[in-house]
């Protein structure tokens, strides 16, 4: 018998392959070890002292394998998590569409037929020893040079509508020159984003602009001229708690939540006023954006306009098809009224 040279690290063991005959004794011992053996395999091992000894051998190997590697420091993990979240947000902004489930999740055992999708070397924010460095965590999208994908409909729609709103607002607004300057700046920024994301779609739809376009937000506060606010909340948690108690079909707030004095709510807005038209337009637009983002999401059935720590937010109550036989659910999307991006969601089971 020719002596086998010792393998180099990383060299695959040539004796391990799918196509060779499987040693039935080894298969039986392994299955017994994993408590996955057939009765015949159990008998086979039990009556053979050699296989019983082999079972002990493999159990020792499995025990060594079961010892977890040194855990990563919590700070390192925190960096990885925040980088992942930041990357996902960046991907949302870039209108990154995830690949199909099978493409993303499927394991190709040999790697021979799966597109390896080469990527650049990953400059990692974490040192090799698992210690974090002082480098701020940044989105990996900027490092890895992933291919740019088409933006999703919601982003394009939001950009188009904001552009329309700003443009029409500039035409019909009798606002102050200060506001107009701020709006002009916002228009320019949005125009750039729209051109980058969606090309000339905005211009094509400009002629269909709704004359009831909302007034534009203040460049600094995001608050709209003529506030329409149903309730004020100190922070997200307070709003989340209130939405957990709200009647999801009517969005009637708990009695413990007081409407701000001297301000109309969405329920009593006057669509003849600028503020009323703005609020209506926000609800309609964000409802459409949500619907476009997920076919299971229905149109908004109820809406609230709230402020959280001074920022205006919309709450849209939408019916969502469950698809699991549990019946429809109602999700309350808390969204930014300008971008329509969800801030968080509270779900009610019907």
């Amino acid at each position: 018998m020719t002596p086998t040279p010792p393998p180099e690290p990383g060299d695959p063991d040539p004796a391990v392959a799918d196509d060779g005959p499987l040693d039935l004794d080894e298969a039986a011992v392994s299955a017994v070890l994993d408590d996955e053996a057939t009765p015949e395999q159990r008998r086979r091992v039990a009556r053979d002292p050699r296989l019983v000894a082999r079972l002990s051998e493999l159990r020792a190997v499995a025990d060594r394998m079961a010892a977890p590697p040194a855990p990563l420091p919590a700070a390192t993990m925190a960096k990885l998590r925040s980088a992942a979240l930041a990357h996902a947000e960046a991907a949302e902004d870039e209108a990154d569409v995830p690949p199909a489930r099978d493409e993303q999740d499927g394991v190709e055992p040999t790697g021979a037929t799966r597109d390896p999708a080469p990527r650049g070397g990953p400059p990692h924010p974490i040192d090799a020893d698992g210690e974090g460095d002082d480098t701020p965590v940044t989105s990996l999208a900027t490092h890895r040079g992933r291919r740019r994908r088409l933006p999703p409909l919601p982003a394009v729609a939001a950009a188009v509508v904001v552009l329309l709103a700003v443009g029409i607002g500039l035409v019909v607004s009798d606002g102050s020159s200060t506001e107009q300057r701020a709006n002009s700046g916002a228009s320019s920024a949005e125009s750039d984003r729209s051109e980058e994301a969606g090309g000339g779609g905005a211009g094509a739809e400009a002629g269909d602009a709704d004359q009831s376009a909302p007034p534009t937000p203040s460049a600094e506060s995001g608050a709209f001229e003529g506030a329409v606010v149903d309730a004020d909340f100190a922070d997200d948690d307070a709003l989340r708690a209130a939405l957990a108690e709200v009647d999801p079909t009517t969005l009637t707030l708990p009695s413990s939540v007081d409407a701000p004095p001297d301000q109309p709510g969405l329920a009593d807005l006057d669509s003849r006023t600028t503020a009323g038209r703005a609020a209506e337009a926000d609800v309609t637009r964000c409802s459409m954006v949500l619907e476009a983002s997920d076919p299971d999401i229905g149109p908004a059935q109820a809406a609230l306009r709230v402020t959280v720590d001074g920022s205006v937010l919309l709450v849209l109550g939408t019916s969502v098809a469950a698809g699991d036989g549990d019946g429809p659910k109602i999700r309350l999307y808390v969204v930014d009224p300008v971008s329509c991006f969800p801030r968080f969601v509270v779900q009610h089971d019907r």
Binding site: D13, D18, E26, D34, P69, H87, D105, P109, R331, V345
Partner: protein, 193 residues
């Protein structure tokens, strides 16, 4: 998303799938050490494990809105993570890099067994590195995470019979490697009369 009632992550899944950062963070935090262990064992290298773990977390965060709840969240996350590890290994292969030596910090508090533990991990890394990736993954999922064959089959997307044979073959090779005996079992001297 239809979270399975028995899924231990059902408390976080609805919010996480809806994009709630707090819920996503909590979900990742709950499983991050396990995911890292998978990456560490499959890639066999601390740096590659971090890269694979980073990719895995990104893929999980991006994929959560599409998670359909047909499997447990952990099964899905292990699947994503294993794929990221295998991708990382393919990238490594293309770069023809040699695995780095063990660089993990053995910061478990000065116990006298630290050296032995590190040496043992190095041995295991070397033994695992000698296994083809398609055999390494099921062995790691079985021995490290304790998944049963059906769960491994679901995680890796291969038939349970293939899982069974790959674990048997892989474990035999590991035993040979760890004992310094490279001779296949069929050629080993038998004690059988």
């Amino acid at each position: 998303m239809t979270a399975t009632g028995s899924d231990p992550d059902a408390d976080l899944l609805p919010a996480a799938c809806a994009g709630d950062r707090v819920a996503i963070d909590a979900l990742l935090r709950r499983h991050e050490q396990q995911l890292h262990a998978v990456c560490r064992r499959i890639t066999g290298d601390p740096t590659d494990a971090l890269d694979a773990l980073q990719e895995s977390m990104i893929a999980i965060v991006k994929g959560l809105p599409r998670f359909d709840g047909r499997s447990k969240a952990t099964t899905w996350m292990y699947r994503v993570t294993t794929n990221c590890c295998l991708d990382e290994l393919r990238r490594q292969r293309r770069r023809s890099s040699v695995p780095l030596p063990e660089q993990e910090r053995a910061d478990r508090g000065g116990a006298p067994s630290v050296d032995e533990a590190v040496a043992d991990r190095t041995d295991i890394d070397a033994a695992l590195a000698a296994l083809p990736a398609e055999f390494r993954a099921p062995v790691v999922l079985r021995d490290l995470l304790g998944l049963d064959y059906a769960e491994i089959a679901e995680t890796l997307g291969i038939p349970p019979g293939t899982v069974r044979s790959r674990i048997a073959r892989g474990r035999s090779a590991l035993a040979r490697s760890l004992s310094g005996n490279q001779t296949p079992s069929s050629e080993r001297p038998s004690v059988r009369p």
